[in-house]
């Protein structure tokens, strides 16, 4: 199981590529500008990733998106980010 790290908004080639390379059990963590994808209006951008989609607390907060993010997205802080990298075999970054 891999951890994919995405720091770009949904309407970018990086996001499309990340989704297309995502294995069926892989997890996807949104960081930096990637957390724009956590908005409820962007929900359709992540089909089939239910339960495997994470967003970085600090990056949501800096952008005023904390509390405005879609249900079902798991919010982790930087310690949780490290924990995800421990739990997953490998990470792949999409930027």
């Amino acid at each position: 199981m891999l951890l994919h790290i995405l720091n770009r908004a949904p309407d970018t080639p990086a996001c499309r590529q990340a989704l297309s390379a995502l294995g069926p059990a892989d997890r996807l963590l949104l960081i930096e500008d990637g957390v724009i994808g956590a908005l409820p209006a962007q929900r359709a951008a992540f089909p089939g990733v239910e339960g495997r989609l994470y967003a970085l607390h600090e990056d949501l907060e800096a952008r005023g998106l904390l509390g405005r993010h879609a249900d079902g997205i798991q919010v982790v802080d930087v310690e949780g980010f490290v924990a995800l990298t421990e739990a997953c075999e490998r990470t792949v970054s999409w930027y």
Binding site: E32, A41, A62, V78
Partner: protein
């Protein structure tokens, strides 16, 4: 000297979200400097740039200031003509009540007119 459709000297287009890069800050800096030199400035928040207007932004996790404090100063610089892409508001589910500052939503036709109506366009 200017015709009636002339909206000002400078149109600054802001297409990047706060915090992720320095584009938004550097675009706003150009707008502030132009205003300080007594130029009329219009700002257009386009695409991800619309998120610059969202209320409730904070400092970054390393203490980065972000751009919300700069937006709060726009009025002091007499920059009060703010436009925001209609489609971006829709894409991100934003409405007027969630914005720091009032910005007028514009569609594609109006955007093209704005580009044509300014002496200088800087795209960030």
């Amino acid at each position: 000297m200017h015709d009636e459709t002339h909206h000002g000297d400078l149109l600054v287009i802001l297409r990047h979200a706060p915090h992720g890069s320095s584009w938004l800050r550097e675009g706003l800096d150009a707008a502030l400097v132009a205003a300080a030199f007594e130029r009329r400035v219009t700002l257009l928040f386009l695409g991800e740039g619309a998120l610059a207007l969202l209320e409730g932004q904070g400092v970054g996790p390393m203490g980065q200031k972000g751009t919300a404090p700069t937006l709060a100063m726009l009025e002091m610089y007499d920059i009060d003509r703010l436009l925001v892409e209609e489609r971006a508001l829709r894409d991100y589910g934003l409405d007027a009540s969630m914005l720091l500052l009032p910005a007028r939503p514009v569609g594609a036709t109006e955007m093209a007119e704005e580009l044509a109506a300014h002496s200088l366009v800087l795209n960030f």
